[in-house]
Amino acid sequence: MDFSKIYALGLRHIYLISNSLPRIIDLIYWPTVQIFLWGFISKFFTLSSDYYSNTVGIILTAAILYDFLFRVSISFNMMFLEEIWSRNFTNLFIAPIRISEIITSLTLTAILRALIGLVPAAILAIPLFGVSVFKLGLPLLLLLLPLYLFGVTLGLLVTSGLLRFGPSFENIAWASLFFLAPLGCIYYPIEILPYSLQIVAKGLPLVHIFEEMRNILLNNTVNYFDIIKSISISIVYFILGVIIFYSSYLGAKQRGTLINMGE
């Protein structure tokens, strides 16, 4: 891997963000709205529910973690879509950059984009609602890791669809995360789901991540086995995502769609 090329592709997206104040505002705006919305809901639940009475802001913490996953995935998709919208696809794929370097660059830049939006929102939650996601301590990083991997995986699957079906697949890019959200048990325990869906949900890393988050906040204990399980499942999905991306790229080369991919 040539890190100067990975940096070069990342620089393209850093320039894109830094050149436009509306883009920066857009990155910060949506996570902040989420924090406000879930902050008030969280406050209401804290006052009205026995389940949440011991831990202020459990829902808000879940909202912040879920937004991290959402931002990583959307960032990955957006960066790929930017190449299609700007009709730069051919220039990118004839440059001497390997597919693995493109994936690495998008993966690294996605977290930067996600953090630009999320860090100010997470900091804002401290004075506004008295909720700090940083209270989770070191396990926070261990929960963010599988979320990051899974967010990138969703990004890889959507971009594979864009390579396979062209820009018309764009709408799926926006819908992909909402499709999985009900099974992720983000705001409620897994027992709420019907038994058959519980089995499906356990195959996703999200359930293990959010169950563990609740466990840490409610019981002040860390179950590292669950964290390792969520990381392992995320790695499996990530590898699968990379394989599907490569297969879509090779398919696009066969069909000749890389040369005229555009709006």
């Binding site: 620089l11 894109l16 005229n260």
Partner: protein, 244 residues
């Protein structure tokens, strides 16, 4: 032979876009790739750029097979310019050249950007976003990007399409000048016959995925008994079976 294309074919579903074409280009020569729309020029260029997987055949660049040798090693020696693809619109001209210079691993990048921007007279709109430029300005920026790595092989797809005669002439003169000062092998796909006559050492005529004639412009014009390349093109394009 610097570039060798052997038995190259491409089938899209049941449509035969390129049909067992063979040609070679010697080092530092400029070859024109001509033919009516849909004859397989863009598909052939796409295969030479590694964007399209050939159904059959080989592309050999400097004794290295494009499909089996490391993709990035060969692509670092090639570049491409076409008015049908664009650079990121929201990035400034300088940022685009910097990003592509880095992607191509250009050494002394700042000097190279300065040099090429002076040559192509783009320095005065360096800080403007590429999407805000006129088509003539965009075309020169696109050409600058395609020369940023001092490519040994330059593929040009209608480089002066949609340009006014003045800018078109500027671009053609620049390509001529660049070629005289640098070691570069050029494949030029164009519908502008004057441009082809002016820039190309020899031409390849394609029709319905096949090569139907080849040679120097003078040889082909004489062979078909026409006065210029435009008339020769029309004769070959309109003939039922224009095979060589």
């Amino acid at each position: 032979m610097f570039i060798q294309v052997k038995n190259l074919s491409k089938v899209f579903k049941k449509n035969l876009a390129v049909d067992k074409i063979n040609f070679h280009i010697d080092k530092n020569k400029t070859v024109g790739l001509l033919g009516p729309n849909g004859c397989g020029k863009t598909t052939s260029i796409g295969m030479m750029l590694g964007l399209i997987e050939p159904s059959e055949g080989e592309i050999i660049v400097d004794n290295k097979n494009l499909n089996s040798f490391k993709r990035d090693k060969i692509l670092s020696r090639i570049n491409f310019c076409s008015p049908y693809i664009e650079l990121p619109k929201k990035l400034t001209v300088k940022q685009n050249l910097e990003v592509y210079g880095r992607l191509y691993g250009v050494k002394n990048l700042s000097e190279r950007i300065l040099e090429i921007s002076q040559d192509l007279d783009i320095k005065n709109f360096f800080k403007r976003k590429t999407g805000e430029l006129s088509s003539g300005q965009k075309n020169r920026v696109s050409l600058a990007k395609s020369l940023i790595n001092k490519p040994e092989i330059l593929l040009l797809d209608e480089p002066t399409a949609s340009l006014d005669p003045d800018i078109g002439d500027f671009v053609r003169s620049y390509i001529q000048e660049y070629r005289s000062k640098n070691q570069v092998t050029i494949l030029l796909a164009s519908h502008n016959m004057n441009e082809v006559e002016r820039l190309c050492d020899s031409i390849i005529m394609m029709k319905k995925g096949k090569i139907i004639d080849r040679g120097t412009c003078k040889e082909i014009i004489k062979k078909h008994g026409r006065n210029n390349l435009e008339e020769t093109f029309l004769k070959l394009a309109r003939s039922e079976n224009g095979l060589q």
